[in-house]
């Protein structure tokens, strides 16, 4: 059995099965915690009727999704209508393949590393996640288009424009990390952070971390960037016409996407499975026990991020569409571009891992942005001054 596992391919297949199994459950419980956390933040109780503490609620929800009538409206584009939810779900899940869950593993204890606890470790590394992110928009776009519903169609439009805009700062922030680590494989990026005196990338590039986090929110269509499913304006957005299991697939796909996104942020900026100074979580710990420990640390970090996603969702209001675009193109993109240029200069000068230089640069960039903003008269939000002017009359009694 152990000999069989020492083959990387067999190990990967088993790991993939285990991870997809666990994460399917995790995604279902994400919905439960979403409801619970929204309730707690609003001084309510949340689901508490099904099972102790309502813990069986995901099963009940799943049963409901399966048993409800599966309506296919008239005049929809049927093949695409049926295909879109699969697209959303599958593209949400295949990102897991590349996350480094537990570092290198020595299965039989002979001091030789046998396998790595990662389903696949392609040479393109992080670019794989970018590719998946680029494809993920098709679930929303096809769903919105095939519906033959004007609201869903608007949602598809919004989602397309939004994802295109936010992929650019996202890619730039990923490049900053890749430049710092000099590596493109996720496992090597984690090791580079450990090798850098236990300084995670978040300490070196806090601004890039915030920008990446923002773009992950946008890419996963979460509040405050959930314009594609803005209930108040677009009913339900792209899933207006979907019901039963097809709606459930969109739902699960969104949470799977969140897990992939937070996994990416954790690997890039928060040291992946690593915690400094704790034995068992260092690169040289390669036993099976250490692997399980590393996996649980990674999972715990993802859980913290998921909580943050939900916390933000129930705190912040939605952006307006022009604000959204302006934030990306006029805010995030120049900042991340400037940071990337600065980082490449640092790499050239050999100072890419120096805390003082990196933080100084980040502060400098933020300061310059603030200065430019302070000098500009046009506000970031609101009507731009070169828009057609509007005649303003005031009634007699107005203040």
């Amino acid at each position: 059995m152990l000999e069989l596992l020492k083959d990387q391919f067999t190990f990967s297949v088993i790991l993939a099965l285990v991870i997809v199994g666990i994460l399917n459950g995790a995604v279902a419980y994400c919905i439960y915690f979403e409801r619970k956390i929204s309730a707690w933040l609003q001084d309510r109780v949340g689901p508490n009727r099904v099972g102790p503490l309502g813990l069986l609620q995901p099963l009940a929800d799943g049963g409901k999704f399966v048993l409800k009538e599966d309506i296919i409206p008239a005049n929809v584009d049927k093949p695409l209508f049926l295909f879109a939810p699969f697209m959303a779900l599958v593209l949400g899940f295949i990102g897991f393949a590349i996350l480094p869950w537990g570092g290198s593993v020595d299965l039989d204890g002979d001091g030789v590393v046998d396998v790595i606890a990662q389903v696949a470790d392609p040479g393109i590394g992080i670019l794989y996640l970018l590719g998946i992110g680029g494809l993920a928009v098709y679930g929303v776009v096809l769903g919105g288009w095939a519906n033959n519903n004007k609201y869903a169609y608007f949602a598809a439009m919004r989602a397309t424009a939004q994802m295109l805009s936010y992929e650019i700062p996202m890619g730039l922030c990923i490049l900053i990390v890749v430049l710092t680590a000099g590596q493109i494989r996720l496992e090597e990026i984690v090791l580079a952070q450990v090798g850098n005196g236990n300084i995670w990338n978040i300490c070196l590039h806090p601004v890039a971390f915030i920008i990446l986090l923002t773009t992950v929110f946008a890419e996963t269509n979460r509040t405050p960037f959930d314009l594609a499913e803005a209930e108040q304006e677009l009913i339900g957005g792209y899933h207006t016409e979907y019901g039963a299991l097809k709606f459930g697939m969109f739902f699960l796909g969104e949470y799977a996407h969140m897990i992939t996104g937070s996994g990416m942020v954790i690997v890039l900026f928060l040291g992946g499975w690593h915690l400094p100074w704790i034995p068992g979580l260092q690169p040289e710990d390669v036993s099976i026990g250490a692997m399980l420990l590393k996996m649980s640390v990674f999972g715990a970090k993802i859980a913290v991020f998921l909580f943050f996603f939900m916390w933000v969702r129930w705190t912040l209001p939605r952006f307006r569409f022009d604000q959204l675009m302006r934030l990306s193109w006029k805010g995030l993109m120049p900042i991340s571009l400037a940071l990337m240029c600065y980082t490449s200069v640092l790499v050239y000068a050999g100072k890419a891992t120096s805390l003082a230089w990196c933080l100084g640069g980040e502060l400098g960039v933020v300061f310059i942005v603030l200065a430019i903003n302070a000098m500009r008269t046009a506000p970031i939000t609101g009507r731009q001054r070169n828009m057609p002017a509007i005649t303003v009359h005031k009634p007699a009694g107005a203040p």
């Binding site: 933040l41 001084d43 916390w311 933000v312 603030l370 009507r383 509007i390 303003v392 009634p395």
Partner: protein, 191 residues
């Protein structure tokens, strides 16, 4: 049509430099909601725990009152049916078997689904026979079931008479005039 001169265009406020970063406001908001994470829940676990009745004249399900002799207090005068803005009351009147009144409701149907719980019937009733009770949790499995007939409305009275006793005494002036007394007596004899 809104006159153009009545339109005021309000510009969005110019944001200060820190506000343009959004982050301080975001952190502030997150702090506020995080505090609520530990606050006491205000939820009432409804079917087990019920909230106290907060207003005395809550307008819930209707009831048909009984008088002291356990008869239907209604005299089938059609006042409530006329007053009802939702047209949800349907009365069939019959000759009263008792001598102090002419008519009584043979049938009294009230569609609880059509009703808008405005209380006009209660206002209109000259003998305070129909009243709205504090009871609000009525359920049914069909629309027909939610059309309450006389028995059901009287049963509501039995359920709620301890919570909300029939306040006003029966208006007695009606039976006081001699002619009417006689005629009511006649009808009784015929019945």
């Amino acid at each position: 049509m809104i006159e153009e001169k009545d339109i005021i265009i309000v510009d969005e406020p110019d944001l200060s430099t820190t506000e343009k970063l959004y982050l301080p406001q975001v952190v502030q908001g997150l702090r506020t909601t995080f505090k609520h994470l530990f606050k006491k829940n205000i939820t009432v676990q409804y079917p087990e725990v019920k909230r106290e009745q907060r207003v005395e004249n809550y307008r819930g399900v209707h009831r048909l009152n009984r008088d002291e002799k356990d008869r239907v207090a209604c005299v089938a005068c059609f006042m409530c049916q006329t007053a009802c803005p939702a047209n949800c009351i349907h009365i069939v009147a019959g000759e009263s078997p008792w001598e102090d009144r002419e008519k009584y409701p043979v049938q009294f149907d009230l569609d609880e689904l059509r009703c808008i719980y405005c209380g006009m019937c209660e206002e209109a009733c000259p003998v305070d026979a129909i009243e709205l009770t504090p009871e609000y949790d009525i359920v049914g499995r069909s629309r027909e079931e939610m059309v309450f007939d006389k028995e059901k409305l009287l049963a509501v009275f039995e359920r709620t008479k301890d919570v909300k006793p029939r306040k006003n005494p029966r208006i007695t002036g009606y039976a006081g005039t001699g002619d009417r007394e006689q005629s009511s007596g006649n009808t009784e004899g015929e019945g």
